[in-house]
């Protein structure tokens, strides 16, 4: 379960995040939505332990996996990238890459991939690991609709297998509606409301 109390992040005099209270139950999938600069990435980075808040407390289940918005390709091939830090996962990696339609690129240099391919590769790197909390920062932003569909299907499969909690930020109404149980709206750093219930369309009301 994620518990956030009085979480505040400030750069100089500019407040970029202000979440008085947030609670996400175990196994839930919450979509963070909001305009650019609304604090989605800041919240995810704080929960991932990559950024220190100015004030406030939070607790997250461990281990946590985090997919940053800007994906980085390590040196080596696509397969080598996916297998970094794993043991005996070669077969799993091959079938995962097959499902994600990256199999033809297995031996290709990861740094030569397109933006969408790289985003799928970065996502695959996480899917081979276990976690109880998965944080995804705009995971489909560089993907076309077909690639986004593949990625979201894989996310559902992973979620079902792991039973993990998922927090993902997105600008896409379709993505939020497809995978999220509910949505958290962020505007000017403020978490304003939890709008929709499971299975319903998310309501969007940007300030």
């Amino acid at each position: 379960m994620i518990e956030v109390t009085g979480l505040h992040k400030q750069y100089g005099t500019r407040t970029v995040l202000d979440v008085p209270h947030l609670s996400v139950e175990r196994g839930a999938c919450v979509a963070l939505i909001g305009a650019n600069g609304s604090g989605k990435t800041t919240l995810l980075r704080i929960l991932a332990g990559q950024l220190k808040p100015t004030s406030g407390t939070f607790s997250t289940p461990q281990p946590v996996l985090y997919l940053p918005q800007r994906c980085y390709a390590f040196r080596g091939t696509v397969l080598q990238n996916v297998l970094i830090g794993t043991k005996n996962k070669r077969e799993d990696a091959l079938s995962l890459l097959e499902r994600m339609e990256l199999a033809p690129l297995l031996q290709k240099e990861a740094r030569s991939l397109s933006g969408g391919e790289l985003q799928r590769l970065a996502f695959c790197r996480l899917m081979l690991r276990d976690c109880t909390l998965l944080l995804l920062d705009e995971p489909t932003s560089a993907c076309d609709s077909h690639a986004a569909e593949l990625l979201l299907q894989e996310l559902q499969r992973y979620r079902a297998a792991q039973g993990c909690t998922v927090l993902l930020s997105t600008h896409s109404r379709a993505v939020a509606a497809q995978v999220a149980d509910r949505c958290l709206l962020l505007a000017n750093g403020r978490a304003s409301a939890l709008r929709s219930e499971a299975g319903t369309q998310c309501e969007f009301s940007f300030d």
Binding site: Y66, P68, L126
Partner: protein, 228 residues
């Protein structure tokens, strides 16, 4: 042109004193660069990728040490290893070992500072991704170093360049003793003082040639590693 001809003559006739000086120079530069990099690269990576209390002060101290004048470093090491100094009983003064120690004192802050600056500016993406994958911190550090190896090579080459070109510290602690602690730079200084300019220039040409060969070899190693 005469100096270049003389340099080639010295090299191709395998002048024994020149070979001995070259040997000492390469041994000293190799060990001081290696030790400095073994200490400085992980330290610089840690400094550039972690936030902790006192980091700003540590960076200021590091920047001060990066500008440490070689003669001051030489004097410090001399004071430590002189007969009545705290390490006098080791009898290391006027040996190649103490020259390596003096050079490490000069070069380690340079390697650490340059590596930290690079990591602060360029390694954010590597760090964010590697930590996001839940990798242990040792593995993250290793990934940072291996991913940045092309850029870090220039740090290593800067360290080697500073080591091979350094004269102040090595002449104080090494004593420029013929057949023992004489290196290219101290030999050039001596020959210039003797008025033997063409020989000094010839030695300078050889020093430049070594720097060029090391640069080409290092670039080749990195290129090979990239296509492994």
């Amino acid at each position: 042109m005469d100096a270049f001809r003389q340099a080639m003559h010295l090299l191709f006739t395998l002048d024994p004193e020149l070979l001995q000086i070259l040997g000492v120079t390469m041994r000293m530069s190799f060990f001081s660069t290696t030790i400095s990099c073994l200490i400085g690269l992980p330290l610089g990576t840690l400094l550039g990728t972690h936030s902790f209390r006192g980091k700003a002060f540590l960076k200021k101290l590091l920047h001060t040490l990066m500008g440490l004048p070689p003669v001051v470093a030489g004097l410090l090491v001399y004071a430590l290893f002189t007969h009545y100094g705290p390490f006098g009983s080791l009898h290391l003064l006027f040996t190649v070992r103490v020259m390596v120690i003096a050079q490490c004192l000069l070069i380690t802050p340079v390697v650490t500072g340059l590596c930290a600056s690079y990591m602060e500016q360029s390694a954010a993406g590597i760090l964010e991704t590697a930590r996001g994958m839940g990798l242990p911190s040792g593995r993250v550090l290793l990934l940072c170093l291996t991913e940045s190896r092309t850029s870090l090579l220039s740090v290593v080459l800067s360290a080697f360049g500073r080591s091979i070109a350094e004269v102040g510290a090595v002449s104080i602690v090494g004593g420029n003793i013929q057949w023992k602690t004489r290196v290219m730079t101290t030999a050039i200084l001596l020959e210039t003082n003797k008025g033997n300019f063409s020989f000094a220039l010839a030695l300078g040409c050889i020093l430049l040639l070594i720097a060029f060969v090391v640069n080409v070899a290092a670039s080749w190693i990195v290129k090979e590693a990239r296509y492994d």
